[in-house]
Structures are given as structure tokens and as C-alpha cells.
């Protein structure tokens, strides 16, 4: 362990902006991407559910 204090750790020997910028950017984008993919999936599901509902309503109207 080469860090004497928490402040030392966050200072990154003067490279804080660059090191935390890099790791932060990676973390941010790699959290955002699954979130977006999940939203796309649920959007597709929602659309399908709506279509099925429409089909069922159609069916009900044809033979009440």
C-alpha cells in the first residue's frame, strides 16, 4: 500500500484530473450504456405488449 492518507489517494501524485478523469469517463459511459440498452429492450417489450393488446381488442370486436 503506497497511500499515506485518503487525500493522498485522491490527489494521485498531482495527476488527479487525468487519472480520475479517465476512470470517471469509463465508469460514466460504461454505466450509461447498459442503462440505454435496457431502456431499448423495455421499449421493445412495451411496444409488443401494446400490439398484443390491440390484437386482442380486435378479436373481441369481431366476435363479441
Amino acid at each position: 500500500m503506497q497511500w499515506n492518507s485518503v487525500g493522498d489517494f485522491f490527489a494521485m501524485g498531482g495527476y488527479a484530473l487525468y487519472v480520475w478523469g479517465s476512470f470517471g469517463a469509463c465508469a460514466l459511459l460504461m454505466i450509461a450504456e447498459p442503462f440505454l440498452a435496457r431502456r431499448r429492450l423495455s421499449e421493445a417489450r412495451r411496444l409488443l405488449a401494446r400490439e398484443r393488446l390491440a390484437d386482442e381488442l380486435d378479436l373481441q370486436q369481431k366476435n363479441p
Partner: protein, 246 residues
């Protein structure tokens, strides 16, 4: 033997691949988390301070895995695309399409972290170094692939056109890399090699490997998530999809 081949081909249909992908995703997320935590632990608490670059070198632990993955994903994408073209399997094309955004993200991360590394080490956000330049071109290739697929409405045609583009890209990548390297050595002056770490400690290598594994697992999980969405979007009008989404 024959039975096992048949068994594998079964998963080439979207209908059986959709639930399989759903079952695999949590495992890949778990693997990504485990490797990621171990990798981050090594990158920040085990790997020693570099003699020349101080703590700034720690960017290597995300920069190099992102660069590796960006190149590797392009190869995998071209493989799926080629397979789809050769065997006419539907899932292959969808996999290629699902991989592209993650590959582009990796290329973007590689460029971003490269810039953040370059600023303290070279004093400039961007240097026309051979690796950075090739990475930028790879990013353009991803953008082209995604733009082409987005522009074609018929998914089958989009898959096939994308496949040809991906294969042409794969043939070109070595030529591009070689030409950029040649160009770089001809125009001396900015040839500081970013990844040349002559005395890379064993622990640094371990950290990099673990982070690369984490990125790899993450990419697989992402591709599977996205391919599920693509399957639902494309197979919207089939019977099985209507029953799959209860």
C-alpha cells in the same frame, strides 16, 4: 458429433437464442464485476508508482483494455457478419449489429483516456502518434458501419451490406495501421511511444490483464443485452415473440 452440431445450430435461431442470452447475461455481469473489482484493486492499491510517470501511468489500466477491446470487437463483429453472410443465419447479423455500438464506445474511451494521458505526459491533448491515429480511424470505421446499418430499412439488406463493409474494413485495418505507422516514422518529431513501458512491473501487467478481462465480460454482456432488444424489434410480427413477452 452430428448431434452436437445440430444442438449448436438450434441457437442460431432468434427464438432459442433470445432466452439463452437472457440466462447468460447475469453471469457475464457477475464476471465483469469480479474482474473489475480485482483489477481496480490492483490498479490502485497493489501496482507501485511508476518511476518516470508517477501516478499518472495508472490511466494505462483503462486505456489499454479499452484499446484492445475496440480492436477485438471489430474482429468479432466482422466474424459474425461474415458468418451471417456465409450461412445466412439471422442471429449472426444481429450480433454484429449489437456489437458495433460497444466497439465504438471502446474506441471512444480509448481516445478519451489517451488524450487524458497525453496531456500530462506529452503536454498536449492530442499527438499524431501512430496508435492514436489508427484508433481514431477505427472509430470512424465503427461510425460508418453503424450509419450504414441505420440508413437501410430492410434489416436483411442492412445485415448483408454491413457484413461486406465489416469484411472490407477487416482487410483494410492492417493496411491502415501499417500506413499510419509508416507515415509516423517518416514525420519524425512526435514519436514518443505511449505504451512503451520497458520495466513494467509484474503487478502492473496483472492489473491490466484483469481489467481487460472485465472489459471483455462487460462487452459480452452488453452485446447480449442489445441483441435481445434487436431480436424483439425485428421479430415483432412472429408468433413466438408474442408469447415470449408475457
Amino acid at each position: 458429433m452430428r448431434q452436437s452440431i445440430v444442438h449448436w445450430f438450434k441457437f442460431a435461431s432468434p427464438q432459442s437464442f433470445y432466452p439463452l442470452a437472457g440466462r447468460m447475461i447475469p453471469w457475464f455481469w457477475a464476471a465483469a464485476a469480479i474482474f473489475g473489482i480485482a483489477g481496480l484493486w490492483i490498479s490502485f492499491f497493489v501496482a507501485p508508482t511508476d518511476a518516470q510517470q508517477g501516478e499518472g501511468y495508472r490511466i494505462i489500466f483503462v486505456h489499454v483494455p479499452a484499446s484492445w477491446m475496440s480492436m477485438f470487437i471489430y474482429l468479432v463483429m466482422a466474424f459474425w457478419a461474415g458468418l451471417g453472410l456465409a450461412l445466412n443465419t439471422r442471429v449472426s447479423g444481429m450480433m454484429a449489429q449489437a456489437l458495433a455500438p460497444t466497439g465504438a464506445l471502446m474506441a471512444a474511451l480509448s481516445l478519451l483516456t489517451g488524450a487524458l494521458w497525453g496531456k500530462p505526459m506529452w503536454g498536449a491533448w492530442w499527438v499524431w502518434d501512430a496508435r492514436l491515429t489508427s484508433e481514431l480511424i477505427l472509430f470512424f470505421l465503427y461510425l460508418g458501419f453503424m450509419a450504414l446499418q441505420a440508413a437501410i430499412d430492410d434489416p436483411r439488406r442492412a445485415d448483408k451490406a454491413g457484413a461486406i463493409l465489416a469484411l472490407v474494413g477487416v482487410v483494410n485495418i492492417p493496411i491502415i495501421y501499417f500506413s499510419v505507422k509508416w507515415w509516423n516514422t517518416l514525420h519524425q518529431g512526435s514519436t514518443i511511444n505511449l505504451n512503451k513501458a520497458p520495466s513494467m512491473a509484474q503487478t502492473m501487467l496483472w492489473g491490466m490483464m484483469l481489467m481487460a478481462l472485465a472489459f471483455w465480460m462487460y462487452s459480452i454482456a452488453m452485446a447480449l443485452m442489445r441483441v435481445r432488444a434487436i431480436i424483439l424489434e425485428r421479430e415483432r410480427h412472429t408468433e413466438w415473440v408474442k408469447h415470449a413477452v408475457e
